[in-house]
Symmetry: C2
Subunit: 220 residues, 2 copies
């Protein structure tokens, strides 16, 4: 069985590689894992000799099929736990990411399957992040961020691309959660601002980096 450290590296490589193309540079991995670069290199070498990643010195790292499989299991556990914490134990969605970081390494398949069943085989977690099925498949939905979707058309929020509690509390306070309706009113390139209106016509202005974190359904 992989250690929880190994699980964390594989999950991290998986999630970071989503953003970028091809190989994940070691510096990015080290930063994401909060370790010094040398530590990441050392770890990646052992992952590589276990055939969990492909490593090319001075280029970067990518997951093998075996590594992807483990990463997806960890992501699945993480997201199902988040949902359990919100829906069953009533924690706030801003706190569950941190809690799930520890629990994801401690739940057995048996328990995760019960959670999955009890929650009705959910497809997404409280932030709208998709939950891989036991065999690693996703139900993928087309999305666009508030920074690029058409204006004046009401959309439904489907996903928030940030786990930071402060951001999530802000989003919650303003009704920016999966399932909520939102319309982009205007965008201004030079001020970098996106004006939106939420339920009850409430208006709100976001910077584009925040707007980029909020995904809505692609076809209205």
């Amino acid at each position: 069985m992989p250690s929880s450290t190994v699980e964390d590296y594989l999950k991290c490589i998986y999630l970071e590689a989503q953003r970028r193309d091809g190989m994940l540079p070691m510096g990015a991995l080290a930063r994401a894992m909060n370790v010094v670069p040398g530590t990441a290199t050392a770890m990646v070498k052992t992952l590589s000799s276990d055939r969990l990643v492909n490593y090319r010195a001075r280029v970067g790292v990518s997951l093998t099929d075996a590594g992807t499989e483990i990463a997806l299991q960890v992501v699945r556990r993480h997201r199902l736990i988040e949902l359990l914490l919100v829906q069953v134990l009533g924690l706030d969605w801003s706190e569950v990411h941190g809690e799930a970081e520890a629990l994801e390494h401690a739940v057995s398949d048996r328990v995760i399957d019960r959670i999955d069943a009890m929650l009705g085989h959910p497809r997404v977690d409280p932030h709208g992040d998709p939950i891989p099925s036991p065999d690693g498949a996703f139900a993928l939905v087309g999305t666009v961020s508030l920074a690029e979707c058409p204006r004046k058309v009401p959309r439904t929020i489907v996903r928030i691309l940030d786990q930071d509690p402060d951001f999530l509390l802000f989003a919650e306070k303003n009704g920016l959660m999966p399932g909520q309706k939102v319309t982009v009113v205007s965008r201004d390139k030079s001020s970098d601002a996106v004006e939106i209106s939420v339920r009850k016509g409430k208006k709100l202005t976001l910077g584009s980096s925040a707007a980029r974190k909020i995904l809505v359904d692609e076809a209205s």
Copy 2:
């Protein structure tokens, strides 16, 4: 924060010391922790220099107040998790001990408090083992085992002193669970047998070591 290894040692010392008097010998600790004796000695020395245990070479180990406090928190987490797994996720009581061994080190106070609230501040876990309150207090109930309680008087099972899945499955199959009624019909010293009758007058014979694991309420 103590590592999960440290938590395990403290919990183990706490639980093993329940049975015995005074100091727990290193051999017993090593056996209970599944490590070689030298490992237990080394660990206990570091616990001792952290003032979590009292250690006397070639005599044994006992918990300090600080050590007891940590041990009780771990026991509390363990037992609340067991109850959650049984009552909310529907796992069988024979499997939850093992699951909780890992989870007890991964749940935060925040989560454990939600679980406690959601379960209605329970006093005992699925095996009847008492759950310490956040400040380490127990609701203690007088009990006797089936090996020593008066005969012919119906009693209520309150606790099972064994976490072995096989034993628990056997007990479950025969209705020997907390809350169930049971009467000791007869005992025989030489054959080491305890004959009991369960609900619906079903008869059953236990060896005295099994009888000793089943506790009933003291005053009928």
